[in-house]
Symmetry: C2
Subunit: 377 residues, 2 copies
């Protein structure tokens, strides 16, 4: 297909992992990729310059949050989300399905769409699949998502089935409503942890036809082994020549596992949210910076890391900032955690190309060392 | 005097303003200078890299806050305050006098020193002039301050006199206790808004002899005209060949006025604190970013500014971040406000050298335009 924006440039021969390039209106994204989450038009604490320096190639925005504030009209008047937030590289917006359904008693779902009250001011809103696409067309991200229902876990089989079937009908409506040809609209596979429903959802979504496919509903607190099992089943069933995006997942280990199942794109609030809670990812294990033992620890956060935080500051200083509730703590921690995730994915890409991915898979440390290279090359 | 670390390189011939160079253990400081406040070992939201890029040449730390947390021993083990916070340029630490006296009922003053309870955990502490110097010697800033009493306003004449006289005795004790010859110990002139007491304080402090002189007690909520009058009286009475430092003051207009009285150094929390409250300094007037009219204002914060914030973002975006309580708002606002103050002082330096200071004095906008040049030269 000449129109295919996704090109696989290397496949692992022991797992489903692959290295690819995804073409978008704002440039190429190298996969497998981690996408930092910038829900409200900012990756919390970071400037666009920080993100470029960290090697971020694509970031997330959220249509639901940006719809409520500042509103799509304001983003449009600003010249689109890229201009509004001064980010020149690709953006993916989530449709807001997940967020709307998380509102619980504040929302009412019908075939037509979802009625809900704003968490901010109690005002009434209605988002249909068509409206979600219209909002996302207005925001102007490079990749936009269908409006799906993400059923809570646990839900009974029947509910998951009905929800999945409605999500399929909504996916058709989204595709029909999509107006901006500079944006790629990705479909979302649902179906809970039920293989039969995931299969039906995948087949139905592929039949509608999208330039990329997401796997939703995997970050809803399900037991990890069931999630892994479902992922191993669903991901490879999606078209090989299209990018696959695992939504809202997860730990570094989850990302590596996802890659081994053939996933190309990931997003998760974990690195940024944990950073603000003083919970840091390092090649020598997790660090809770508040811990008293770091009070006099004058070593870097991660001895193997080349990020700005690790090159300049000690654990003792970071702990001091964190205990004092200094904004700089949140910022330096965010830089580090994002660097960890982004380096990890660079290491993953390199190892796939070097044919060492499956042997490195169990060893995050070795993958990280590969990933750090980018900064010192 | 061969030992003089301060060199005047240009004097205004209409006012007391002068341009100078102050030599410190961590490099030269060009005066008149504004010193960003980094109370707890960080200029809030800023990395050292940000500060260097803004053109900051010296920053403040506070002995009182750093004594309570993380404690001088930890800073010492880190290799001193510069290493602890990864700032390679000069630092000035305030002695903590002002902060201790602000504790009100939590402290008890005697000739020996001040006993107080920590705001953090209620623990008991005692700081004498000797202990303050010991703490500051340990922290290792380039310029340190005598331990003074800063009487509240209003206080009666007798109280101010007694306090000022004790501050003189404390200044002698500080000088005697000072051990680190890499650090310059500055004396502090007190005396409230009473000319006679200010005169006695200045004479007494100069008699003890310091490489620089500060004017304290001017940021205690006194009416501006009395403050200006006192400043115009005190500043020129201090030795011309030594740097003069006006503590904790003030607005951009206050700084320009201070320079005209012969002041060389300033610090104030205003640019950084106001930034976090969404109150911005611009060449087109003050801006409260929360104001609804900025919702659709797609112009830069300050049309004449070349800071990172103004070069990349609109008022509408900054307002959005601020309303969402995003950390990035605080950071971008801080960058801008500090840039405003630092550019202003660069403009002041240039105008003194160009002989246009007194004509530009009333026109902050023109001074700012001079100051912006640094970034585009």
């Amino acid at each position: 297909m000449t129109d295919n924006k996704f090109r696989i440039i290397h496949e692992d021969n022991q797992t489903q992992a692959r290295v690819g390039k995804l073409r978008t209106a704002h440039g190429i994204v190298n996969t497998p990729i981690f996408m930092p989450v910038g829900t409200r038009g900012t990756v919390k604490t970071c400037t666009p310059r920080d993100l470029v320096e960290l090697g971020a190639e694509i970031i997330l925005g959220n249509a639901y949050h940006l719809y409520l504030r500042p509103g799509p009209q304001i983003v449009q008047q600003a010249g689109g989300l890229h201009k509004f937030m001064a980010w020149k590289k690709p953006i993916l917006t989530d449709s807001g399905g997940f967020q709307v359904f998380s509102l619980g008693p504040l929302r009412k779902i019908t075939e037509e769409g979802v009625e809900f009250r704003s968490e901010i001011d109690g005002s009434k809103h209605f988002i249909s699949p068509e409206r979600s696409i219209e909002i996302q067309n207005t925001l102007g991200a490079d990749i936009i998502m269908t409006f799906d229902e993400c059923p809570p876990q646990p839900s009974d089989y029947e509910y998951i089935q009905k929800s999945m079937e409605m999500t399929l009908r909504w996916a058709s409506r989204c595709k029909k409503a999509h107006r901006n040809r500079n944006q790629q609209l990705f479909g979302i596979v649902q179906g809970g942890m039920e293989k039969a429903l995931r299969k039906a959802s995948a087949e139905g979504t592929v039949e509608i036809g999208f330039p990329g496919y997401a796997i939703g509903g995997m970050s809803v607190g399900e037991a990890k082994d069931r999630m892994y099992e479902t992922l191993a089943y669903v991901a490879p069933s999606l078209p090989k020549d299209k990018p696959r995006y695992l939504m809202g997942v997860g730990t570094p280990e989850d990302l590596v596992y996802g890659v081994s199942c053939g996933v190309d794109m990931f997003d998760c609030v974990m690195p940024t949210r944990n950073a603000r809670n003083g919970s840091l990812f390092t090649t020598v294990g997790g660090i809770k910076i508040r811990n008293a033992k770091y009070k006099t620890d004058f070593t870097p956060l991660d001895p193997n890391c080349v990020c700005y935080t690790c090159e300049n500051f000690t654990r003792a200083y970071l702990r001091h900032l964190y205990v004092e509730n200094e904004i700089l703590a949140h910022r330096l921690h965010t830089l580090h955690n994002l660097h960890f995730y982004l380096s990890l994915m660079r290491g993953v890409q390199r190892s796939i190309q070097a044919g060492t991915f499956s042997s490195l898979k169990a060893d995050i440390g070795a993958l990280m060392q590969l990933g750090q290279k980018r900064d010192t090359d």
